[in-house]
Amino acid sequence: MIGGGNAALCAALMAREAGASVLLLEAAPKEWRGGNSSHTRNIRAMHDEPQDVMLEAYSEEEYWQDVLKVTSGITDEFLARLVIRASSQCRGWMRHHGVRFQAPLSGTLNLSRTNAFFMGGGKALVNAYYRSAEKLGVDIRYESPVSSVEIQDGKFIAAYIGDERIEAKTCVLAAGGFESNREWLKEAWGTNQYGESPADNFLIRGTRYNKGVLLKQLISLGADSVSDPTQAHMVAVDARAPLYDGGICTRIDAVSFGIVVNKNAQRFSDEGEDFWPKRYAFWGRLVAQQPGQIGYSIIDSKVLGRFMPPVFPGEKADTLEELAIKLGIDPKALQETVKTYNAACRVGTFDHTILDDCHTEGLEPAKTHWALPIDTGPFYGYTVRPGVTFTYLGLKTDETAAVRFNGVSSANLFVAGEMMAGNVLGKGYAAGIGMAIGTAFGRIAGTQAAKAAQTLNQSQGAEHATA
């Protein structure tokens, strides 16, 4: 197993349970193990009726429609439905390996029906899986970044950690995307119409160990790929967030309660298009497309306490002019933008728990819900940057999680997690779907890898017998 996050661990556990001897190679040291899984908090799970922590029902069809909507159809229905169905059956197995679920967290009203929350979040899940893997006798090596793999006619032969060659009958690639490889991001995003290199201003929300080394190698070796290198889960994060591992707490959740302007103090997208969990992963990209890759979320005092408190305090000022100066944008332009916006607001009954009827008229871009005038000081502003969670460029796969070369499935090389999430997520995101993909394909990959190793054992046995 190459990788040490949720998908690799699911694969390792399944393969070990199927009787294979398993070596797990985690690039990170023990204290940073688990990759982006350590930053997750829930899994989107289908259920036809209320189950333990899951309320009401979330049918396959509704789940599929959500996937279809967020990806604008850039998905693989067969594999997406495979993930959706698997998500309804994995929690018992997860519990068996020590994962604990809990009632939805406060402030997650819109996820309480669709997502099962891990008690303590993703790091607790990762810890539980590592404990279970150790107990079952999975051989775990930290600080073991695989630098290349040896492939012959579409078959895995060996992995290299520097000069060390590790042969195995079969291999699962679950080493994440390439989001922490800044050179690659830079290359992928190129230069924009303002002559800037947008990727220079990206912050990485997750692990610093996802360099995409094997993703790059496999694609250059002719493995079939999906999605493109600019597609990623990108969130608007506080500009003061650390370069890596900022995780969930640097997110700015104020967006739908006010307006967001670019560095010219102009609005550029509908802040009230849909519920925040369905939209937050779009805003990183929206900000990335703005000049300077920077945005400013502006709210007034009326909406304080309605969104999750941000980790860093925002700028605060009694007047919009003062706020603009503090944020470093043109005060006149901001005042003008807010004035136009306020005049366009048609306030009905504000309710942030439903798609309410507060909207703008004659404004471009419109704000279609939760449009309240920004008129009650003090005003608050948060500077945001694009925060990359993970990239979608991945290896094409099928229902056996096999890596494919020119449309032919490898007999013993499999892929799971972020390295193949792009099969289901061509673009966009819905909360908790990454863990659903990682768990489903991690488990498939582990099972298939164990099966491949067994087949190889038998054929070797047969060779010995005939020799």
Binding site: M119, A124, N127, P242, G305, R306, M308, H352
Partner: protein, 381 residues
């Protein structure tokens, strides 16, 4: 105005790096994350707030049972640059709570080197009783006294000495607790809140980890042993307390005077309690020695261990006294046992013992506020 700003700035600088300001910094991070909400009562209580004043931090610190779950689950724990370690910072705040609310105030300093304080108090107490019995009895050994302690010290002498010290200690704890209660502005107690808090305290609900698998000790694995050993300790202690109370009733109201038969209620209660007070502290000490070094505040380990060892010594000296009460060793054993008990009574308001009272107060406040409307209406997700 400028002067005021300068003062505010100075105050802020002074506050930097104190456990309270560190707790505030970390809780702001926690409040934007909230993954740990399921583990215990601290995080749900946190989500009712967006500001963490010293009073709030004091309350949350004493609500924390130092189970360690949130540290092992934390994506922002060291080596992350945010350096979040809630169990440690809240333990540091607790020490400040104990020192701040100790009565008389100057005695709060006894928390600083608490291991030494307890050791000295106990040593002096034992020496005192040995000398006293040698003086009263002529020597530390004697012919068999049929287990009659009052042949060494009169009942009234013992009742006066222990009653006075115990009374003072309870008064000191009560005054400290009353100040603490006001400090965290707890509000009115309802019957249902009181009953829930009592239940949470008596069952050590929050050493269960939220999932019932228990708390962390040496690593990220969960275990119920800390909860179990604490139960042995607490209920063992309560049985011993019951034994003493029953004996007091026997003495004053029923005219039944010690020594009591092995089959009598005080002896049975005391023996069972004593066994609990051997198993519990021994287990807690073992777990404490194995404890992950990132948990809690290392400077309080001497206090924790002194208290654990003291309880163990009270119990073992008491059981030995029971076993050998009919022999010539009784006088010496009695003096030693009384010395341990006196050492405990003296340090009750100024040692680990106090944690239970502050914890129960915090649990009670938690039960009260849970029943009040939460005015924050987060609806982002």
């Amino acid at each position: 105005m400028q002067q005021l700003n300068a003062l505010v700035k100075e105050a802020n600088e002074l506050a930097m790096g104190t456990p309270e300001s560190e707790a505030d910094r970390m809780l702001q991070i926690c409040n934007a994350c909230r993954y740990c909400e399921g583990f215990c009562a601290v995080f749900p209580a946190m989500t009712r707030r967006i500001e963490f004043t010293p009073s709030v931090v004091n309350y949350l610190a004493n609500l924390c049972h130092n189970c360690g779950a949130c540290l092992h689950a934390c994506q922002y724990a060291p080596p992350h640059e945010f350096g979040v370690n809630i169990p440690r910072v809240l333990a540091q705040v607790r020490k400040d709570t104990y020192m701040t609310y100790a009565w008389p105030k100057s005695f709060g300093a006894l928390y600083k080197s608490n291991g030494v304080v307890v050791s000295v108090a106990v040593s002096l107490s034992i020496a005192f009783f040995l000398l006293l019995s040698a003086f009263l009895n002529g020597s530390l050994s004697s012919g068999p006294l049929d287990g009659n302690f009052y042949a060494v010290f009169s009942h009234n002498t013992l009742a006066l000495m222990f009653g006075a010290v115990f009374g003072f200690s309870i008064l000191a704890i009560a005054i400290g607790l009353a100040h603490f209660w006001r400090g965290i502005s707890a509000g009115a107690i309802s019957a249902s809140a009181a009953s829930e808090a009592t239940h949470d305290a008596l069952t050590l609900k929050y050493l269960g980890g939220g999932h019932g698998d228990g708390c962390n000790n040496e690593d990220d694995a969960f275990s119920l042993w800390r909860k179990r050993f604490h139960h042995f300790t607490f209920y063992g202690f309560m049985l011993c307390f019951a034994a003493t109370s029953v004996a007091t009733i026997y003495h004053y109201f029923l005219g039944l005077h010690a020594p009591y038969a092995l089959s009598s209620l005080p002896v049975i209660l005391g023996t069972l309690g004593g066994i609990g007070l051997l198993i519990g502290p021994a287990g807690l000490l073992y777990l404490n020695l194995q404890r992950n070094s990132e948990h809690g505040d290392a400077s309080q380990k001497p206090m924790d261990r002194a208290f654990i060892v003291l309880l163990f010594m009270i119990s073992i000296s008491g059981l030995l006294l029971l076993a050998y009460r009919d022999t010539s060793a009784m006088v010496a054993l009695l003096a030693v046992h009384l010395g341990f008990v006196m050492g405990f009574f003296l340090t009750m308001p100024y040692g680990k013992f106090a944690h239970g009272f502050y914890r129960v107060a915090a649990l009670l406040k938690n039960s009260i506020e849970k029943r009040q409307k939460n005015h924050l209406q987060f609806g982002a997700d």
